[in-house]
């Protein structure tokens, strides 16, 4: 690039970044974040230095019963045959009154290429291919408070896993989409992530933290129903534009990290954009309605909101009712064998209702429980 070209680029970079108008510095928030970081570091240091001493003291001072964890592992039921049952169920149980089941199933709409995934109660899928170096966990938040769900993919030769040295969960073989998995699944209390070790092998599986709010934006921080994977899930990635207009677009990227949407508006000053991931719905399960708001309260900025819904196979159109009483029909687009309907709502309007229409134009579901930011789930 010539000198004048470089000068031009410098000028354009300056124009681009000077156009960004940061809000007031959130000093309190920064200091809170810094303090939390300092405490975590202090805790980690104390933990590493004191662990040996704590263990020694506990061994010496506590009666034998005290060595039992306060929350014993939750019981797990697995098929006695060692082969997944109907619907691909490889583990099930009841935890704090919540029945749960983990299964491997095809989550593509009928007629499309098979898309294998692990699901909890038939919904919130984790796309994963057979890979013995992968394990994952998720949480449902208010739908199953305090509970997490996890699975471990096991190599041949490992008979299963043990939770906290107490509860054995044998490996179960499951086949879907022509792929063969060896899995051990379980539920656990988020307050106590169990120690997971392989039977007959030294391997351990430190479960990832799930169900926490970790970032500053609500949409990005919400993660109930989204799986956190460790290792390589080996899932196929699908990506496509689900809606677009003059100067704006909503894309979806589907992989093991969930249905991840990206909404940007080139025609809005500052070219705002937002990305957020939500749970992967299954054809028969509840649908995730994602709101991607470009409004930004700290800056007093009001912008349009993008909406994306992963709709059921029988959905032919989605009728959108806005706060001014107007309606629009949105035709879903297929990405990765799944239907998505998406649209954008202008700055000064609000989405009031969504109505699902079948091929005959007949409404078969409707909801007014719609998010302004982040996602909610709805069973049509």
């Amino acid at each position: 690039m010539s000198e004048s070209g470089e000068a031009g680029l410098r000028e354009r970079v300056h124009l681009l970044l000077q156009a960004v108008e940061p809000p007031m510095a959130p000093v309190d928030s920064i200091i809170r974040r810094g303090r939390a970081r300092r405490l975590r570091r202090a805790g980690a240091v104390a933990g590493s230095l004191g662990l040996a001493g704590i263990i020694a003291a506990a061994t010496l001072l506590l009666p034998p019963d005290a060595a039992v964890p306060p929350h014993p592992p939750l019981p797990v039921t697995v098929p006695a045959s060692g082969i997944a049952g109907p619907g691909g169920v490889f583990a099930s149980g009841t935890a704090d009154g919540h029945a749960w089941r983990l299964a491997v199933e095809n989550v593509a709409d009928p007629g499309y290429r098979c898309l294998p995934a692990i699901t909890v109660n038939g919904t919130d899928a984790n796309l994963a291919q057979p890979n013995p170096r992968n394990y994952a966990a998720t949480a449902f938040g208010p739908a199953a408070p305090g509970l997490g769900f996890a699975y471990v993919q096991l190599p041949a030769g490992v008979a299963g896993i043990v939770l906290d040295g107490q509860e054995s969960v044998p490996a179960v073989t499951a086949t879907v989409c022509g792929l063969r998995y060896r899995l051990a699944g379980f539920a656990y209390r988020l307050a106590h992530r169990p120690q997971v070790t392989a039977i007959g092998a030294a391997a351990s599986y430190p479960l990832p933290s799930v169900g926490s709010l970790g970032t500053t934006t609500a949409a990005a921080g919400q993660n109930y129903g989204v799986w956190t994977n460790v290792g390589t899930p080996g899932a196929e990635t699908e990506q496509g534009i689900v809606a677009s207009g003059r100067g704006w677009s909503i894309t979806v990227l589907l992989d093991a990290g969930g249905d991840c949407y990206h909404y940007e508006s080139m025609t809005t000053p500052g070219t705002p954009q937002i990305g957020a991931c939500g749970p992967v719905s299954t054809p028969a399960g509840p649908e995730t309605i994602m709101a991607l708001s470009l409004s930004y309260a700290p800056a007093g900025f009001h912008g349009p909101t993008g909406y994306a819904v992963q709709v059921s196979p029988e959905t032919n159109r989605l009728r959108v009712t806005l706060s001014d009483g107007s309606t629009r029909l949105v035709t879903p687009r297929v990405v990765g064998g799944r239907k998505y309907a998406a649209f954008a709502v202008g700055t000064w309007l609000r989405l009031d209702r969504l109505t699902w229409l079948d091929a005959a134009g007949k409404a078969f579901a409707s909801t007014t429980a719609l998010p302004r930011s982040g996602y909610t789930q709805f069973q049509p």
Binding site: I31, R33, G34, T251, T267
Partner: protein, 178 residues
Amino acid sequence: MSDPRDELAAADVISGGGEDFSAFAVSRWPGLVRLAFGLTGDRWAAEDLAQATLARAYVAWRRVSRADDPDAYLRRILVNASNRRFRRHRVTEQPGDPPETAVEGPAELVSDRAALLAALRQLPPRQRAVVVLRYWEDLTDAQIAATLGCSPGTVRSQLSRALAKLRESPALGEGEDR
């Protein structure tokens, strides 16, 4: 009852190194947000990164406040955090659709910024960082190398690759000299 470590942290803020952390944070905030926006192309991510950077500076405030060049320290934290974020959150780094062709009037400026943003987002994170540090922060090769933890030669090669890619960008290639 407050945590004594919390009080210690508060004491750091009040007395750390002669410069009040709050004033430091306020003065550096706009520059960090803009730099982070150049690295990420995402305003929310930029503000989050700027917050995370200053939170780290808060933890190491004694060291930062006594550093010869606190801004270089902040830049290093921010660029590293941005690279970690890229590895964790692929989705927000997916290249967007090309912007629509510029139209006359004020929209031209908006469209030009959008084109540059789209072109920057096509670059790998390291090349993008080199471009932003050179053309926004006006750093030398050696300063960029110190920020990225690489050699000045690597900076030069990354920069020339980045410029070649920007030249190939349909949105920028024709207008680079204007």
